[in-house]
Amino acid sequence: MRNFKINSDYKAVVIGGSAGSFQGITKILSQIPEDFPLPIIMCLHRLKHVRNGFVEALKLKSTKDIVEPVDKESIRRGQVYLAPANYHLSIELGNYFSLSTEEMFNNSRPAIDITLGTAAYAYRHRLVGILLSGANRDGGIGMARIQQKGGLTIVQDREECMISTMPQAALDLAPMDYELKLNEIIDFLNQLHKKLNS
């Protein structure tokens, strides 16, 4: 197993994904320790007009509870969040979420760039950003922002991705710390868990 150099400053994990990321996300959620202490904030492309069902599908195998935050909800440690359908999800200074119905960005609402970008601004170097498989370039700018603010950046291995456009978009904009296979991403999160609980 690969050993990652990890510091214990991290305050949150954000994950972006689109086409071909559902299985990966489910795998991560099924193997993440139940007491993983950081909030995990997920922005995944999803059908705009299907409000229900997605969280339930993700919850099936997840070790942790997953919720769609309401506007201005506080971000809690150890909670997994999913951006709701048809809203952009932002992280505000002061540790809470806000939602917005602004125009689609990269043809997407929720847009990963918005969630990742605002998280980068709010958490700066205390953030881990993970970008998985996807068919458009959404998330690239968000990852570059995280990199710019000194956070840790991980993209899914392009060879392993069903569609690698999204990780590629990030790599085109900024150097990423790691390009990892799903299993390695899970190893990383487990090591992060150990580090934070030690």
């Binding site: 506007d71 806000s98 602004e102």
Partner: protein, 275 residues
């Protein structure tokens, strides 16, 4: 490098707009407000917030353009169809059982899709003549647009899908005519609607309502502003009047939350139970 704006610049701008235009954006939610400003800088090719202030200062008509751009006007007819079914099947019958006529307020009506949805719903229930509707928004231009009821056919596709999921009685096309690539809504639907510019932040309580819809408006405010606007909405409702907010909004942390009961949590329908 990706452009960013400092918080101090945002403050400078909101201060300026407040004195210049009597609009108060001080307590708008930071992240979306910042994105709006960045968008305006990009659209008008302005290099900085100072340049934006300079433009508003030197071009008298630009302030209204700015207000139009800063507000998020994205809306749909019958957005969240299950919410509209709930209005049709539970809320309105309940209200009209006890009252001969009622007042409805669309606070933050944007380009009017929500108002037309309401009018269509009422018309199909044969209730249109028992209802008086007020539709307000901060943004002058968008209110003009709402009055016209003219929408792109592309938007109409989505509206039509929502109408079907709402399970309307007919086809949405019954309510509009196509004119040079646009859908023009039947004006008789909004004959009894008063469209008006009104600012939820600084404006007065101007009437009493049996039903107020303020959906996807307060998400652009921070919590302290949500709190004071909710007080205003509360004051604008008759006792036992209904308040509807967007499907991902919550009132629980507001001071006047205990003056409402939850009628439907999924659809975010509340009822005022205390003055």
């Amino acid at each position: 490098m990706i452009l960013d704006i400092e918080i101090s610049d945002l403050r400078k701008l909101t201060e300026y707009i407040k004195t210049k235009g009597n609009y108060d954006f001080t307590n708008y939610a930071m992240s979306s407000f910042k994105r709006r400003i960045l968008r305006i800088l990009e659209l008008y090719r302005l290099p900085s917030v100072d340049a934006l202030i300079e433009k508003i200062e030197s071009e008298p008509t630009f302030l209204e353009v700015f207000i139009c751009e800063i507000t998020v006007n994205v809306t749909e007819m019958f957005r969240d169809p299950s919410f509209w079914r709930q209005l049709r099947d539970e809320v309105l019958p309940n209200l009209l059982l006890n009252h001969k006529s009622i007042n409805i307020w669309h606070a933050g009506c944007s380009s009017g899709e929500e108002v037309f949805s309401m009018a269509i719903l009422l018309k199909e229930a044969n209730l249109l003549d028992r209802v008086r509707i007020f539709a307000t928004d901060l943004d002058k231009e968008i209110i003009q647009k709402a009055k016209k009821g003219k929408y792109t056919l592309k938007n109409m596709e989505l509206n039509q899908k929502n109408y079907i999921r709402f399970q309307g009685k007919f086809e949405l096309s019954k309510y509009f005519k196509e004119e040079d690539g646009f859908a023009v809504m039947d004006p008789s639907l909004v004959e009894n609607v008063t469209f008006r510019v009104h600012d939820l932040v600084q404006g007065p309580v101007f009437n009493k309502f049996d039903l107020a819809l303020c959906r996807n408006v307060m998400i652009y405010f921070n919590q302290s502003l949500q709190n004071s606007v909710l007080n205003k909405l509360h004051e604008s409702l008759f006792n036992y009047g209904y308040l509807c907010v967007g499907s991902k909004e919550s009132l629980i942390w507001c001071d006047s939350a205990n003056k409402f009961i939850v009628v439907n949590n999924e659809e975010k329908i509340y009822k005022k139970i205390k003055e």
